[in-house]
């Protein structure tokens, strides 16, 4: 995956520019010159922005914050792939050594009806927060907890729950899905809790409420393309979607019977 070439490289960028949510966008072309191969993709954009500002042109707006792959703020579709060509990698952890000197790189926002563009490469992902608000928690009042070691949890279950809880809520799964489904995100949240004893009391209502919110936000359904799994920077397996389906079915049956 490392592209051989000089320490400093030149690239052609085709970048989506859009003034705001009400104005149509378009691609604009820029030269990214003398980019160190050890610079990250976002540092490359920083360098391009510095030169734009110096020429009194508006810099490219993009979301980013921690720049170490954990906050989930960065996004970008790079050459057609959310978070770029490398697996298990957020855009902020993608380095220019993976691109060859002279490459043309196309940079777009995450595209989905439920993720409206705010400006250039920045989209509004608050729909994911509203799904969380519908049930992505265990209801426990502060101070009402028993001793932490009172419930032993088998290590494999705790590890599995952690695999699911590692989701960074970036929304790449949505951007990669032909149906713009947020099922991988939803499945990760639901599975994290359903694998643990703490999640049991609200298990039935949680999956139903979160799924209802998912649909209400305009995300599509899963049709097993597995594009989500391929781009997920936190390597959440699509197997959790199967688990989600099972959870949902059981919740519906339980609700109907009761």
């Amino acid at each position: 995956m490392i592209a051989p070439g000089p320490v400093k490289r030149n690239f052609k960028l085709r970048v989506w520019r859009q003034k705001n949510g009400q104005t149509p966008g378009r691609f604009a072309e820029y030269e990214a010159r003398e980019i160190p191969a050890d610079a990250s993709f976002l540092e490359m954009l920083d360098i391009v922005n510095e030169s734009l500002i110096t020429r009194n042109e508006e810099p490219i707006a993009f979301d980013h914050d921690c720049r170490e792959g954990i906050c989930g703020m960065c996004s970008l579709v790079i050459n057609g792939a959310p978070h770029g060509p490398n697996s298990a990698t957020t855009t902020c952890q993608l380095y220019m050594r993976h691109f060859a000197d002279g490459d043309t790189i196309v940079v777009e926002p995450f595209r989905a009806g439920a993720f409206p563009v705010l400006k250039d490469l920045i989209v509004n992902r608050s729909a994911l927060d509203r799904i969380q608000q519908a049930g992505g928690f265990v209801s426990v009042r502060t101070g009402a907890a028993q001793d932490a070691n009172a419930i032993p949890i088998p290590k494999p279950n705790a590890d599995r729950a952690m695999d699911a809880a590692a989701c960074i809520q970036c929304g790449a799964c949505v951007a990669a899905c032909p149906n713009a489904s947020a099922m991988l995100f939803l499945a990760a949240r639901v599975s994290h809790f359903s694998l643990l004893p703490q999640g049991q009391p609200e298990r039935t209502q949680r999956v139903r409420a979160m799924l209802a919110q998912h649909d209400a936000e305009g995300f599509g359904n899963c049709r097993n393309h597995y594009e989500c799994e391929a781009v997920c920077p936190a390597e959440i397996p699509a197997l959790f979607i199967a688990k989600l389906n099972r959870e949902y079915l059981m919740a519906e049956v339980k609700t109907a019977v009761e």
Partner: protein, 639 residues
């Protein structure tokens, strides 16, 4: 208690203070709580846990964050773990030991009563987080696992792989999300606080800017809580997220809140070294790695052989050599300084000579590569992505980097600043870590403040404030809005030749050189001369394009850098004033013959709380003497 600074430390023996204080504090009855509006800025561990808990108690809460979701606050990036005095390992831990380790770790520059309380509530934090479903690491028997962190000889650190901060924040975010759904908390993402509003001497609201539309608006309440993190980005390069800033704290400081101990900055020993001037941030490699990694440098200066070709007897495992009882788990300030000394002697590794090795070869041969992967896999992956090196095969290259700031707004035992109504939580306050924070104690403090301390102390203030709620139509709010708009227009009107990042980078280089890992009188005086020059140049020659009424990232950055350019001066004043070395503050003039920090308890056993007295006047110093009744002041030794 000089200069009217009263920390309101309750009377009684140290292990009874908190209990008595909770009993004696005023309460707000459940039916009345909904009459109080509480404004919280920041949604990291401290802010989110406070917002969730206060909402759950029935207060009306508004919570603001600059990120697009409260779950993205920088607490999420904390890797290694969270301390708690559970003694699940039966290795002699106790509340008293955690308290003692923290006071000693802070080089006897923290307030005893606060630290004791922190240790006291630490166990309840773990209970709370487990009940929320935080998937902490477990043993095969199903019980919680622990590991060790620097500055402790017990295993008291709970962790969730290398993503402990993420999992704890998700727990608090879950609790917050529930309250948002129930309507007790109103959340304002992509909203930046730009002014604190003071009415009749009390903080009664804030002015914010909607970062999508640019709209400036006021929010009034009965009190204001800042949980806005640290100011490490004043150095430009740090392990902080790019958006971390001092603006909320600085705006509050200029409205009367004292800034305490700004010179106490933590330089973390194990970060990936700087590789070039394009670099936008530094990445931490968790301290937990030092459980199994051994730190070394070549014995010979200028030895440029690859690490594998340097034989065992030509390596200097300097932490093990200098600090045999703590070894590689010496505290952060001490480990960082030792790395600097090695590099100053010309023994640093890598192209720049600014680095040392963190070597896992012994642990891999003792335990297997899989065992190491199980413990630190995500950290090794992260290291590989950034450096393109496989740390299972070659040692990691590490170097110290700015990480955490112990200084912050001054608060009393109730977490209220000297500006009544303004409460400050987590990294944004100064109270618990003294001159150096121990690893895995930041998460503990953020959650202690938000879940357990503030919800028990806020009633004491609110009970005195009936009928004194702020009003957004009052002249104080209108004036604060005007100030924000004026400042924004000024920034947009300069249209100079240099970018915001240029000034930020220049400031960072200056501070790192003059007020970084080592400081001295002449360097600090030079910095105090140059910072105002840089600030003046900024206001004459910065180029901020675009308008206010849109999403404008340059404008956001410009506002933050403008505040850093003012705050940096205060940081240097504080460092110049403190003529001793302690914790993260190392003054070259004050060291022992073997290069350790030399404290001066006679003259400096106090909190330096600085008052802003005007744009062109030096800040005024107030002292809160530190009295040690339980712990005996001693020379800090990890040998």
């Amino acid at each position: 208690m000089s200069n009217g600074l009263d920390a309101h430390i309750p009377a009684g023996p140290i292990d009874k203070k908190w209990e008595l204080h909770k009993f004696e504090s005023k309460l707000i009855n459940p039916a009345n709580r909904r009459k109080y509006d509480i404004i919280i800025v920041g949604s990291g561990l401290a802010g989110a846990s406070a917002a969730a808990t206060l909402g759950e108690l029935g207060y009306r809460v508004k919570c603001f964050c600059y990120q697009d979701s409260p779950r993205r606050a920088h607490s999420i990036a904390a890797q290694g773990g969270i301390n708690a005095a559970k003694n699940y390992q039966n290795d002699g831990d106790s509340v008293h030991r955690l308290f003692y380790d923290t006071v000693k770790g802070g080089d006897f520059r923290s307030r005893e009563a606060n630290v004791y309380r922190l240790a006291e509530v630490s166990a309840a934090i773990i209970d709370q987080c487990v009940a929320q479903g935080v998937p902490f690491a477990r043993e095969y028997g199903g019980l919680l696992a622990n590991r060790s962190f620097g500055g402790a000889q017990v295993s008291r650190t709970f962790y969730a792989r290398g993503q402990t901060g993420q999992q704890l924040l998700l727990g608090a975010y879950g609790a917050l999300s529930k309250q948002i759904a129930e309507g007790t908390v109103e959340m304002f993402p992509r909203t930046e606080m730009l002014e604190v509003v003071v009415v009749d001497g009390h903080a009664k609201g804030i002015v914010v800017r909607d970062m999508v539309t640019g709209q400036v608006s006021s929010h009034a309440g009965d009190c204001v809580i800042l949980a806005t993190g640290g100011y490490g980005n004043v150095f430009y390069l740090s392990t902080n997220a790019k958006g971390c800033n001092v603006t909320a704290n600085w705006r509050a400081h200029k409205k009367g809140a004292f800034f305490a101990n700004p010179c106490y900055t933590q330089i973390h020993p194990t970060c990936i070294p700087v590789s070039g001037d394009y670099q936008s941030k530094l990445t931490l490699m968790s301290e937990s790695l030092r459980n199994d990694g051994r730190v070394w440098a070549p014995k010979k200066p200028g030895d440029k052989r690859p690490p594998g070709q340097i034989p065992e007897e030509e390596r200097d495992y300097y932490l093990e050599r200098k600090y045999p009882s703590y070894g590689n788990l010496a505290p952060r300030d001490i480990s960082s300084r030792a790395a600097k000394q090695v590099c100053d002697e010309g023994r640093g590794i890598g192209d720049t000579g600014l680095g040392v090795y963190l070597d896992f070869a012994d642990a891999i041969s003792r335990l297997s590569e899989d065992a190491i992967r199980e413990r630190y896999g995500n950290l090794f992956d992260m290291y590989h992505k950034i450096t393109n090196e496989n740390a299972y095969k070659v040692p990691m290259r590490i170097f110290p980097a700015v990480h955490y700031t112990m200084g912050g707004l001054w608060v009393d035992y109730n977490l209220m600043s000297n500006l009544p109504g303004l409460h400050v939580l987590g990294e944004a306050n100064f109270s618990d870590h003294g001159a150096n924070r121990l690893g895995a104690s930041a998460l503990m403090q953020g959650l202690a403040d938000g879940y357990f301390v503030l919800p028990n102390t806020i009633g004491g203030y609110l009970a005195t404030q009936t009928g004194k709620k702020g009003n957004v139509n009052s002249p104080e709010f209108k004036k604060a809005e005007e100030d924000v708009r004026d400042r924004t227009s000024r920034l947009l009107g300069i249209r100079g030749k240099k970018t915001v990042d240029y000034f930020h980078r220049e400031l960072g280089i200056l501070l790192w050189e003059k007020c970084g890992m080592a400081r001295n009188d002449a360097g600090l005086r030079d910095a105090l001369k140059r910072i105002p020059q840089l600030r003046q140049e900024f206001w004459e020659n910065v180029n901020v394009l675009g308008a206010n009424e849109e999403l404008n990232q340059s404008l956001e950055k410009a506002g933050r850098v403008a505040d850093f350019l003012e705050f940096a001066e205060l940081l240097c004043y504080d460092a110049l004033n403190r003529r001793e070395s302690c914790g993260g503050h190392f003054r070259e003039e004050f060291q022992t013959p073997d290069g350790e920090a030399k404290r001066n308890d006679e003259e400096f056993a106090y909190v330096a709380a600085w008052e802003h007295v005007g744009e062109n006047s030096p800040p005024q110093l107030h002292k809160e003497p530190l009295e040690f009744e339980t712990v005996h002041l001693a020379t800090r030794s990890y040998k």
